[in-house]
């Protein structure tokens, strides 16, 4: 029942807001729908905690286990806080004349559809529907990236569409190959692509076909995760779209894409299981792509002048780190990967909220133009500073805990990778901190914002990150451990 609410609420929200247009309280309605989605997600989570994994509806169209339910909760939560943030943010944008009623209507409607597509991708049991909803999530956000209709934003949206489209076409081919292998064991028809069925017979699936399928799936969904060298759409889309969109792209969509990769990896590992010692082929590929992303992103961060672009590259770096952790496999690394996914979503969206208001204040996204936030609006300044410290992995924030776990595991199991990781994290630290520091503490004559900025979400997220850094509640740790075990830990 919860599952239908979870998917139905944002979908009907999208329809309703499309019809409602941008009447006076559209932002509040948007927030209300997001809140109801969150309630449904919490109800679903409570049920999974109480009764364990479940397969529901028809032949088992939906499958909820600890791994995806935690992403569902995270997605619904960040979607809700982002809708709170977007209320004043979009109002200020409208007053600056960058948006009008028509575009805001498109924004609100697509936002809800986007959330619905992501939740469907997370909860569906069918690998084909997973593909369909990933593509739907892309389509829902293409017009959001180009919402400002500036030449740069149109270019970014075009790049986003074409690159992710081509990428996801590779994933479709991977899915076809998966079905090809599955059909031999499970017979043709609708149930052969159900993940639970595949998982039950994964040892019998033809290993060579699955190997090939995984390569295509990794390249395809990896494009959406933003893994180097397929990342070039990501900084553009994040920098040119409106900030709430950057926050959900970075905080949520990348996670969902990585989730799709992980579901495939479990199957491939199962099929290849008996043949390979040590690191599996899928794990090795993921470690390679992950490490490359971390290093490439860290060195590109150094060269950025646009604040949103810089943090977009930081997202590539962190997703690379998570991919690397999942690639290593094993209970500790998978646990750390899941924890890092959570921490990154919360922290990065908080940073984007703060950055959004800071850029509105300064009237530019160039970092040279943003100065002395702490003098004119201390809350934005502190939000940005604390968010930056958190994302850079300074203790006691939660990112430190997860990065520490990832690096110590790497030292034990793949010592060769450690210097690269440490170097990249060091470079990223130096360049991001060096840039943010004058933005927060420098001298300024910037005017204050016309509306009260929404900074509750920023501190809510950072508070959670801090709490998880100091103390992970036992049920949450238990939950992560179960999820890590599902990933083949």
């Amino acid at each position: 029942m919860e599952i239908y609410c979870l998917l139905g609420i944002p979908l009907s929200g999208g329809l309703f807001l499309g019809l409602w247009g941008n009447r006076r309280n559209a932002p509040e309605i948007n927030a209300l729908f997001s809140f109801l989605t969150l309630v449904a997600a919490v109800a679903l989570t409570a049920r999974i905690i109480a009764h364990g994994p479940m397969v529901v509806a028809g032949e088992g169209w939906f499958f909820i286990d600890p791994f995806n339910v935690f992403l569902v909760a995270l997605t619904a939560f960040v979607a809700f806080t982002t809708s709170l943030f977007s209320r004043p943010y979009m109002r200020i944008e409208k007053e600056h004349g960058r948006l009008n009623d028509k575009r805001l209507r498109l924004y609100h409607s697509s936002y809800q559809v986007f959330i619905a597509a992501m939740l469907l991708a997370l909860t569906t049991n069918n690998m084909g529907i997973l593909w369909v909803s990933m593509e739907a999530a892309t389509l829902a956000t293409v017009l959001l990236v180009s919402l400002y209709r500036t030449p740069a934003s149109l270019e970014a949206a075009w790049k986003y569409f074409i690159l992710c489209g081509v990428g996801i076409a590779q994933a479709l081919f991977g899915t076809i190959l998966l079905y090809f292998a599955a059909e031999k064991v499970l017979g043709s028809g609708g149930t052969a692509l159900l993940w639970t069925h595949l998982n039950a017979v994964k040892a019998q699936l033809e290993p060579t076909v699955l190997q090939l399928a995984f390569v295509f799936l990794l390249v395809g969904y990896g494009t959406k995760v933003g893994l180097a060298p397929l990342h070039s759409w990501l900084p553009d889309a994040h920098a040119e779209g409106p900030t709430p969109v950057s926050a959900v792209l970075s905080g949520l969509l990348l996670n969902v894409a990585l989730y799709a990769v992980m579901r495939s990896k479990v199957l491939v590992d199962g099929a290849l299981g008996s043949q390979v010692e040590g690191v599996s082929m899928a794990g090795g590929l993921m470690m390679g792509f992950g490490l490359l992303s971390v290093v490439v992103a860290a060195f590109l961060i150094k060269r950025q002048t646009d604040v949103k672009r810089m943090f977009a590259y930081s997202s590539i770096e962190h997703m690379g780190l998570v991919t690397f952790a999942f690639g290593m496999g094993g209970p500790v690394a998978s646990f750390a990967g899941l924890l890092h996914m959570t921490m990154h979503s919360l922290t990065k969206s908080a940073i984007f909220f703060a950055v959004g208001h800071a850029t509105q204040k300064a009237g530019t996204q160039l970092m040279d133009g943003i100065r002395g936030l702490i003098k004119t609006s201390p809350t934005i300044g502190w939000g940005l500073m604390l968010g930056t410290i958190a994302i850079l992995g300074v203790p006691p924030f939660g990112v430190f805990a997860s990065e520490f776990l990832i690096i110590t595991t790497a030292m034990h199991e793949h010592a060769w990778a450690t210097p690269f990781l440490l170097l990249a994290l060091g470079v990223a630290f130096a360049s991001i901190f060096g840039r943010v520091q004058p933005m927060v503490f420098g001298e300024t004559e910037l005017p204050a914002l016309p509306h009260q900025p929404a900074l509750v979400p920023v501190f809510l997220h950072l508070g959670l990150v801090l709490m998880l850094g100091l103390f992970i509640p036992p049920y949450l740790a238990q939950w992560y451990r179960q999820a890590a075990a599902l990933l083949g830990g």
Partner: protein, 220 residues
């Protein structure tokens, strides 16, 4: 034996599909490209229908029908209207070196056949030998996307790639489960619709659909 006869027709249509892919590579005019795309869809739809008929896989009729409605009728019609409205129907792509592109295309076809060989040996379908052609169609469409500088040809390349993937699914496994195929078709439809809106935005901002204007966002 009717099956061998049908198989020959399927092989003929598959060859046609490949030929159309090459024709698309060499087509300079956008209107001509759309016509070729419609023909490609027709070949795909016809071959799917014949496979459905000769093997008794009834859900493939649906797939053939969807292809016919979407890719032979709706999308070409939509694109024709679009180029009329945007007034780009006289646009000629100033392409350099079609012969070189063709040579690269031939190399891709050989590569595709090699790639498909191990999979088609494992496949149990009657038309497994056409898997190589499906792969080649995908790669040629990809090549077209790389070499074109205008927005509409790039999108047609993208849709041609989708055609190739559908054909691959039919050759290897008699198509994907129906739900998935419906979902994919829905995505393609929505995608084309979104792009229609998007073209107008590009046109409004850049005064042209040439993607050469869109090279500002780069790492410096």
């Amino acid at each position: 034996m009717p099956l061998t006869y049908n198989l020959q027709v399927i092989n003929l249509l598959a060859a046609l599909l490949l030929l159309i892919s090459f024709a698309m590579l060499s087509q300079r005019r956008i209107a001509g490209l759309i016509t070729l795309f419609a023909w490609q869809g027709a070949a795909l739809s016809a071959s799917t229908a014949i496979v459905a008929w000769s093997t008794g896989q009834h859900h493939l009729y649906w797939s053939a029908g969807i292809t016919l409605v979407l890719k032979v009728i709706a999308m070409p019609w939509f694109f024709y209207r679009l180029i009329k409205k945007l007034n780009v129907d006289r646009d000629v792509e100033p392409m350099i070196n079609i012969p070189t592109t063709m040579l690269i295309g031939i190399a891709l076809v050989i590569f595709a056949f090699n790639l498909a060989l191990p999979i088609s040996q494992m496949s149990g379908t009657v038309m497994r030998s056409t898997l190589g052609i499906a792969m080649a169609t995908v790669l040629l469409a990809f090549l077209m996307m790389i070499t074109r500088s205008k927005a509409i040809p790039q999108v047609i390349g993208f849709l041609a790639m989708e055609n190739g993937l559908f054909f691959a699914a039919t050759s290897a496994t008699y198509g994907m489960p129906l739900v998935v195929e419906m979902g994919v078709a829905l995505d393609v439809l929505v995608g084309v619709f979104v792009l229609g809106i998007f073209f107008f935005q590009i046109r409004e901002t850049f005064d042209s659909l040439d993607l050469k204007h869109m090279e500002k966002l780069k790492e410096r």
